[in-house]
């Protein structure tokens, strides 16, 4: 498709399990961002990839969170040993460059039981 695609759209898992969220960017978009959005709130920056540069991981809330991206391809966000406070919508956005408008996917709604 033409837009940013995220999968799964919904994920329910038990506390303590690991989860992996996927983001398929718009073709050619070098910038990729992950955000967390708690219910009814704004977006909390997690991590930013720009081409082959070292990612900006300054928003990751703990060492349980990690993300990978190879070049300009798919990105995965992994949360290990999930906790109930990790419940949120995780949004991915991509852009044509570092300061270009961001195009968002519809997010993954993560629920930790």
């Amino acid at each position: 498709g033409a837009g940013v695609s995220q999968s799964p759209s919904n994920k329910v898992t038990e506390k303590g399990k690991d989860v992996e969220l996927r983001c398929d960017p718009i073709s050619g978009h070098t910038a990729l961002y992950w955000y967390r959005q708690r219910l009814g709130q704004g977006l909390e920056f997690l991590i930013y990839f720009q081409g082959n540069s070292a990612p900006d991981k300054s928003g990751l809330p703990s060492d349980r969170f990690s993300a990978e991206r190879t070049g300009e391809s798919v990105s995965t966000l992994t949360i290990q040993r999930t906790q109930q406070e990790d419940s949120a919508v995780y949004l991915c956005a991509t852009g044509g460059g570092a300061r270009q408008p961001q195009h968002f996917g519809d997010g993954t709604r993560l629920s930790i039981l």
Binding site: L43, E44, A98, P101, Q102
Partner: protein, 111 residues
């Protein structure tokens, strides 16, 4: 401490009314963006303002960037139920590559 403060946090109005949403900061931004988000979807970019004092119009929506590039407002004229959604402002610092988002304004327009 929230870098971008949005107000009001919630707004419920009747169809046909006018409204203004504010986005304020003590920091200067090189540009500021407004997004609208509907339930179950990602935010969609409405406008980007880059020049102090700039005013942009998008149909019934008017966006203004403050002269000092620290604040912005979104004014909606004759609101319609289709305007319902979460409105988010996001600023890009002069040096930096990532947006800082406000907490959002949840707008409900009742028919």
């Amino acid at each position: 401490t929230q870098l971008l403060e949005q107000s009001p946090q919630f707004l419920s109005i009747q169809e046909g009314e006018n409204l203004t949403v504010y986005c304020n900061s003590s920091s200067v931004f090189s540009s500021l963006q407004w997004y609208r988000q509907e339930p179950g979807e990602g935010p969609v970019l409405l406008v980007t303002v880059v020049t102090g004092g700039e005013v942009k119009k998008l149909k019934r929506l008017t966006f203004q960037f403050g002269d000092a590039r620290k604040d912005s407002s979104l004014h909606i004229t004759a609101a319609q139920p289709g305007d319902t959604g979460l409105y988010l402002c996001a600023g890009l610092k002069t040096s930096g590559s990532r947006l800082t988002f406000g907490e959002g304004t949840q707008l409900t327009v009742n028919p």
